[in-house]
Symmetry: C2
Subunit: 350 residues, 2 copies
């Protein structure tokens, strides 16, 4: 991650041009490009521009739909359900968060479930669409076509890592929580396996249920599994969260593991609360600002860095990337080279 | 936990009589008694009848209010905020779940925040009030007057264990998830410390931030802290959940750690979704029933018990307790002896 840096606007324009040439309209292309570049800027390097080439492939082979809008399956004001029709998940999720915020301002809370979205990339980049409107937001997703996590005590893949991201407004920078029901992700284990590296802890188990730090156990036949948070010691905690997330995303949207697999995609759930409808924005901020100050002032474990807030590092990295340019994980621009050539677009110089 | 068993109805009548004599009306007394006995029936022995004596003490010294109703601070249909006025938290929470279910049936989703509730006991016993109506429910709470968990990387107590309970309806028994943002609870560490026992893992840290399995480190001056889920390895996961739960409970209710401590109590948040407003109950059940069957059929880790669903054990224990009588943790009936004597109530024989 040392070395070359790209100007974020130029990088985003490059990705937009690729997506437009691949057949997306400007709204979709710019929304997706901006989200991928922002993920890299925030340090979420497995869910940024690394996804650009696979998305272009999916657009080309038709597994990601290029045109149209989601179908509204139900609309009850405070809640709605969409069929994403395999449209780009980044674009669908951005729209859904914006709509949920609008609805939460009317009803106090709002919830949108999306079935049959394509992949939605980095959940953390959507959170500020709500927090800058003073709202708290929770985004969960799962991919019913993919299984890499076993239920606690089991050995067969059933769940996706099942991410949950939460945005909490404060008087200053928002708190941006980006976590999951499992200890690690498909993206991270795949990358480390490709590089022949180990995980920082016993975060996976082999197909016989033996805990391991080797991501290679996920690539055997039958495969091992990623462990839920708590691992083999108290993984019932992550297992419970996985069931909650699968129910919110697949149960409410009405599309999931009970259906034939449709390929790489996502069932999504977005939930927004507007503090003004509860005790008011000032009362909310007074509590959250107090907790923030208590976290930051908390005496650190000796030898450790000061206590940080979730998202604090990412927001700082984004500022740095804006000023100094975006660092890309090795191999990303190389993977885009053939697409740039095919589409007649000149990749930007670092 | 071997030995004496009490008839659940007789035990509940005993607790009701104690609470009525302590000054609660019949509705409040029966609701609290039933919830405490049910917690014991389900095996949640730190949050069942063990709380009866401390609740009686709180009613006597006035720190738990005996009479009246919560004050409605805001009501926007799909959301409401109550001031619990330090009324019994079990009774407030039961009412709030029932109201949130009613509102979710109208709006699709509903959210109620409660400030200044007294302690709410075992979250899991409230879930079926929603699931038997076909709704999914999430209950979170925190006690702004108590701190025992440090933010990840810190050493000073700031959060409560911050429980989160989720009920998911299925075609059969509901899934009842009862977890928290920390690895273990105040109740469990207090009990094990009292008995001179260790924790099953490095679930706490001393005041200098050294991980430990000795709950005694929480009782030094300055005290150590309970670790967030993930422990010292990936405790940013539990830290993120703690911030989400503190924001939902204290931020939305508008009462929390920024205010002067009012004693043992809770800020509470209840969120209910009605699947009929999304893709319909049948579509929801089809997904959840499928996941349930895949969990139960998942090949277990060799030498381990079959994979269970969250709540499955508790529901079985409740059936057993109903048939064979309720097991009480040692010392509970002894602690109630002086109250029974003072209030002229004969404790039931086992």
């Amino acid at each position: 991650m040392t070395g070359k840096r790209w100007n974020s606007s130029i990088l985003s324009d490059f990705a937009t041009a690729l997506f437009e040439t691949a057949g997306l309209d400007t709204d979709k292309a710019t929304t997706i490009a901006a989200a991928l570049v922002e993920a890299d800027m925030m340090g979420h390097t497995t869910h940024g521009m690394q996804l650009c080439a696979p998305y272009l492939k999916a657009l080309k082979d038709g597994s990601m739909r290029r045109e149209g809008s989601p179908e509204v399956l139900s609309d009850r004001g405070a809640v709605a359900t969409w069929d994403g029709r395999r449209l780009p998940g980044v674009w669908l999720t951005a729209r859904a968060v914006d709509q949920a915020v609008e609805r939460a301002k009317l009803y106090g809370t709002a919830s949108i479930a999306i079935r049959r979205s394509h992949h939605i990339a980095c959940l953390a980049v959507f959170l500020e669409r709500a927090t800058r409107e003073g709202c708290m937001v929770q985004i969960t997703c799962s991919d019913p076509a993919v299984a890499s996590v076993a239920p606690y005590g089991g050995t067969e893949p059933l769940f996706t890592p099942d991410p949950i991201a939460v945005g909490i407004p404060t008087s200053n920078d928002p708190i941006l929580i980006d976590t999951s029901a499992s200890i690690t992700t498909n993206g991270m284990t795949g990358r480390l396996h490709g590089e022949g590296r180990k995980l920082p802890g016993m975060w996976v188990q082999d197909a016989d249920g033996a805990a391991s730090d080797d991501p290679g156990v996920l690539f055997t036949d039958p495969p091992g599994t990623i462990l839920p948070i708590g691992g083999q010691e108290y993984g019932h905690k992550g297992y419970g969260l996985a069931l909650m997330i699968e129910a919110l995303t697949q149960g409410l949207s009405g599309h999931g593991r009970a259906d034939p697999a449709e390929g790489w995609g996502a069932s999504v759930h977005i939930q927004v609360c507007d503090p003004t409808a509860f005790s008011g924005r000032d009362a909310f901020n007074r509590q959250i600002d107090h907790i923030v100050s208590k976290c930051l002032a908390n005496k650190p474990v000796p030898g450790s860095a000061p206590v940080r807030l979730p998202g604090q590092n990412a927001i700082q990295k984004r500022k740095d990337s804006k000023e100094k340019g975006v660092l890309l994980y090795p191999g990303i621009m190389e993977a885009l080279q053939p697409w740039a050539q095919e589409y007649g677009i000149t990749p930007p110089a670092p």
